[in-house]
Amino acid sequence: MENPVEEIQTPIRLDYQYTAGEATARFLRGLKQGRILGQRCPSCRNVIVPARGACARCGVATKEEVELPDVGTVTTFCVVHIPVPGSAVKPPFVCATIKLDGADIGLFHLVGGIPPDQVRAGMRVKAQWKPREEWDYTLENILYFTPMDEPDVELDDPRSSAHA
């Protein structure tokens, strides 16, 4: 066949509008004010963050609001060496699960202000916020979590750290 059409490019763009719902709306409004809001499950008593209005463990609605500090412990992490499509973060960067003090579930965020090869599970970290005038309805108000001048903590097995 002369000049066969073997492949064409058809780019796709996806914009979507997210209806946050009551609990997530409160969480996002909190972030705009520099506050991190979780919720306590009335059944297992665990504190869930981000607040999503329900406990996925117990299947019950969560209403009790718990404000959490912006400090916590790195429970695990990885060092990403390849770019995230559509993200402004440039590799290498550290993605970590951070258990905020008083929370019973990890938050996924960046760890910065330290060379990637020095990040440790058990490391104590604190949020590095953007300047207040840039705050919006997003967890990206926190640039990354940065090491604190505190000794590492011994990590518990997740099952033993849960209240139930």
């Binding site: 796709i12 060496h81 993605c95 970590a96 139930a164």
Partner: protein, 385 residues
Amino acid sequence: MGELCGVVGIGQTKYASKRGDLSIAGLVREAGIRALEDADLDWKDIDAVVIGKAPDMFEGVMMPELYLADALGASGKPMLRVHTAGSVGGSTSIVAASLVQAGIHDRVLTVAFEKQSESNAMWALSSKQPFSPHINAGAGGYFAPHIRTYMRRSQAPDHIGMLVALKDRLNALKNPYAHLQMEDISLQKIEASPMLWAPIRYLETCPSSDGACAMVLAREALAKDAPRPPAWLVGTAMRTEPTMFPGREEVNPQAGKDCAADVYAQAGITDPRKDIDVAEVYVPFSWFEPMWMENLGFAEEGTGWQMTDEGATALDGDMPINASGGVLSSNPIGASGMIRFAEAALQVRGMAGDHQIDGARTALGHAYGGGSQYFCMWIVRSERP
């Protein structure tokens, strides 16, 4: 379980990073035709088609099953699409089997596929979530922290992941359908390959593949007279759990343990390592072999890595895992789970070619998906129960 069901035909395409010679329709049809040929059947002998694939964004074609009906001979017949993330090849097989076991259909064609070359799965898996920062770096970025937790808790030595990567690529050399054919693979090469999501090295990850897998499932009366030995289903199970909840055990998920317990109970398996001859387990990153050995009950928690280290999971070990080369050697995502199920069936049919495990009578097919939250398993036997 209702009617007894047997796998009477299996078809696989050659897996490759780009099958530019075939459209998506051509790809699924190639697998379907081969499955029919294996069963000595024609399209007219099929009562229904059950198709599965991973998220539509992986190719950017929404609901592709609608236009694939023609290529799969499904016009005028029931056709059903299944989707359970990376485990979909497994759940698709189970849904197809259930239509036979329930006595609804005599013969069902099931097929699963992915054509990763036509879009960008890393992009599709990295969409921005409104309530978390946009840092999710594909599947590797999600699973690497779980692997790090496993390494920390089990105190497994660093070379375990590399041993798995080496074994599966060597096994792939015995499987003509396998995507990666790395004649010169070595521990040194794996160790020297770049870290992508530390602690995961490039050669410890699965490839991106185009490919499709298909099976013909038939009820007992038809399967026992099939031209080639059938693989008899003696257990099928699925379990799910949420991605995030307090106290979730991501390394050794409860849903996986429950799924294994269910499928073993159905098949009368009490000591999986002894009672199962060969297993095809969904291992997209090398460290998932030891992790799943524990989740599947082949090893005590914290000791799965010792099976890899001692060579128990090699072709000549007592519990061969992924004789086909596994997901680490071929990964058309939506098909990857069905390939595990089909390879388990090939083993008990004695039709696995150069990667056949001698005397395999009982085999496990395993798939998982999402954030280690969807599990599918089946047990197949050479002997009719």
